[in-house]
């Protein structure tokens, strides 16, 4: 027995800010002080508050230490671990206001409104120890379905729970299971889509890293329900920690007989293998993913036939997203009614969001469906740094759209996001403030899809490139009358003619920014002006004559000799030469040079 557990985040975020060295130092000091029998150091998955990483939690007190450096470990051990005194100045305090008492974890604004179902074990258990997963009711749901439930009952429970696919499109999960169940075949497969392509989302990675057994258990349950004995997890090779922990988890589950033949003494057999993806966005599309698992180049094919009829190696395949699976064991254990009690009428349960962009608490949060954008951005996310004004939030990454300030109080669920021209997507939520140019944002996402287009169909391969060219023209100040209309025409054509989800959704960022920020496009085209002051080529740097003392400092720093004038008289900038580098603004001692 240990009297104290030191939990150190071993997710990708904290690992890259040195959490492994922190673990080593803890272990070293604990051994030195002869505490190895009393204190246990555990490397967990992600706690969610990545902005504050590396994160360390010491139990039983639940002391929440953030932004810990290797040097801080000595103090935590000598004060907290040896003498039982919490090191208050290393504890996380909201708004950086130091208070007498360390706040309880559940009282912190970031955690207060969260409700963790898919992430319930992330940051709590050691993901490389199957016993800890079992301790928190792990594999109990699998035992329940195998010994007490028929296949139809399992499917019915998932159906009644109202769970919808967390990969983005929101297809009812139970219905998908039923399709695969009804398909007649000598062999069926279950697959897990862990090809998290949205550059702003990392919840799937966190589930793999923090609670890999939850996915394995859910896949086995799905295998039983649809009649499959083989599962594939498709995960990106660029997630090395996730891959390693998944493999450890699979090995442990096999050793315990929780995967393999005759699980729990029944005649149910199930095995899982990992397939590594090379990091192509298109492989998140189900038919491309299946093609890639088969060992071919990842390209989509037309549907139907849907994977539930004809999937991996031509056999019926049931494919779900990582987060979808992570909900399954809880639904089986607590019942469909329990899951229904969370969320909104058409979107039950919770959703994980990856907060990024201009927001204080960058990280991973899980909230009930129907939580408003405002609650996520301000109450949980801590608002926008520097007191800047909220402009929009982009959900769904390159396939999604933006939510403007006027829709801050929209409850987030599949249908209400669709109604305002965005989409749930994988759950990336990028916050933008007044300094972001919406035309530039649209261009950024389109650059991504142009890069990632697999090239199989013309609308996507050629169409998105043409759109990008128009956007580049606009942000370069060469936009002309009719460009917006051309963008809209292209967007609508691509949407209705592209082969797969990648192409069909690629125009979304453009369409949604046009819908809410058309004035910004128009300002770029007709006034040759970027309202956010972001687009370099449209910026104008000018010298305010009243303020200029004629010191000549600016003309000497200008790399292209665009500034000239007579000493002690106001200088002027030759706009045809100026490259808008801003060097003169930095140098001017009188604040006489401004960017428009």
């Amino acid at each position: 027995m240990f009297r104290s557990h030191i939990l150190v985040c071993g997710g990708t975020g904290c690992t890259s800010s040195n959490s492994l060295k922190i673990i080593d130092r803890f272990e070293e000091l604990i051994a030195q002080n002869g505490l190895a029998e009393e204190v246990k150091v555990v490397r967990t998955g992600c706690f969610g508050l990545c902005e504050r990483g590396p994160v360390v939690i010491v139990y039983p007190e639940g002391a929440f230490y953030t932004r810990i450096k290797v040097e801080d470990v000595d103090r935590i051990v000598s004060e907290h671990i040896i003498k039982g005194r919490i090191v208050n100045d290393l504890i996380y305090h909201e708004d950086d206001v130091k208070k007498e008492d360390a706040p309880a974890l559940s009282e912190i604004g970031f955690y207060k409104k969260q409700h963790r179902v898919a992430l319930r074990n992330c940051g709590v258990i050691d993901p490389e120890n199957i016993d800890e997963y079992i301790a928190f009711d792990g594999y109990k749901a699998l035992a329940k379905v195998l010994t007490e439930m028929t296949r139809e009952e399992v499917i019915d429970t998932v159906k009644r729970s109202g769970l919808r696919g967390r990969g983005g499109a929101g297809f009812p999960t139970g219905t998908k299971w039923e399709f695969a169940y009804k398909s007649q075949s000598d062999k069926k497969y279950v697959a897990c889509n862990g090809d998290e392509g949205d550059p702003g989302a990392f919840m799937d990675r966190s589930v793999f890293e923090g609670d890999p057994h939850a996915v394995l258990e859910a896949m086995a349950i799905a295998g039983y329900a649809v009649g499959a004995d083989q599962g594939y997890i498709y995960v990106r090779a660029e997630y090395p920690i996730a891959v390693k922990r998944l493999q450890i988890a699979i090995d442990q589950a096999k050793e315990y007989g929780l995967l393999g033949n005759n699980i729990f003494g029944t005649d149910f057999n199930f095995d899982i293998e990992i397939r590594l993806g090379a990091g192509a966005f298109v492989c998140g599309e189900e038919t491309a993913l299946i093609t890639s698992i088969e060992g071919n180049r990842g390209e989509p094919r037309p549907r139907p036939p849907f994977p539930a009829v004809k999937g991996i190696f031509g056999k019926p395949t049931m494919l779900n997203n990582v987060e979808t699976y992570a909900n399954i064991p809880q639904i089986i254990l607590n019942g469909a009614e329990w899951f229904q009690s969370m969320g909104t009428e058409k979107s039950r349960g919770t959703k994980v969001f990856a907060l990024g962009g201009k927001i204080v608490n960058t990280g991973l949060v899980e909230v009930p469906m129907g939580t408003t954008v405002r609650e996520i951005v301000y109450d949980i996310g801590g608002g926008i740094p520097g007191g800047k004004k909220f402009k929009a939030a982009q959900t769904g990454g390159p396939s999604g759209g933006c939510i403007p300030a006027s829709h801050l109080d929209t409850p987030i669920d599949y249908d209400s996001l669709m109604a305002i021209g965005s989409m749930m997507g994988s759950g990336g939520l990028i916050v933008m403030d007044e300094d972001n140019c919406m035309v530039d944002i649209a261009k950024f996402f389109l650059e991504f899809t142009v890069d990632e287009s697999c090239g199989k169909c013309t609308p996507c391969r050629v169409g998105t490139r043409r759109m990008l060219e128009i956007l580049e023209k606009i942000t370069d100040g060469r936009g002309e009358d009719g460009d917006i209309e051309k963008l809209e025409e292209l967007a609508n054509t691509i949407k209705s003619t592209a082969l797969c989800g990648l192409g069909q959704t690629a125009p979304n960022p453009v369409l949604s920014t046009l819908r809410y920020f058309r004035d910004e496009y128009e300002a770029h085209i007709y006034e040759k002006r970027c309202p956010a002051g972001h687009c370099k080529k449209l910026a104008r740097i000018e010298i305010v004559a009243d303020k200029c003392k004629g010191c000549s400092l600016c003309s000497r720093v200008c790399p292209v000799n665009a500034i000239s004038g007579e000493i002690k008289k106001p200088f002027v900038i030759d706009q045809s030469k100026c490259i808008k580098c801003g060097a003169c603004i930095e140098k001017c001692k009188f604040g006489a040079i401004i960017k428009k």
């Binding site: 009393e38 639940g62 039982g84 974890l105 559940s106 016993d131 800890e132 928190f136 007989g257 729990f264």
Partner: protein
Amino acid sequence: MKSIQELEAIRQRTLNTINMRKDNQNTRVVVGMATCGIAAGARPVLLKFMDEVANRNLSGVTVSQTGCIGFCRLEPIVEVYSPDKEKVTYVKVNPDMVGRIITDHIVNGKVVEEYTIGYYEKNNK
């Protein structure tokens, strides 16, 4: 693993060691471990508590330490917090007393009067 019983056994065994990580209403045994407590012999007491809790396979009991409780002359001091009950403070605790505190108080809910601070103060004036 061929049965649910085996799964349940692993669950119980591991849960006892890790349930301190969940916010739950446990019985907490807290040992004062500032310089004064350590000098007075708090560490063997703490270790004895940990051993006893582990050996008896008690679930829902956490053993932890705290800083100076204030009564340095009565160290080692052990405080027992039970859900919905008043805190009980034991003073001048040595490892031999631990067994009784566990059996009488933690398992059976009967406070060991003669080890408490009130009893000590009354009889040592």
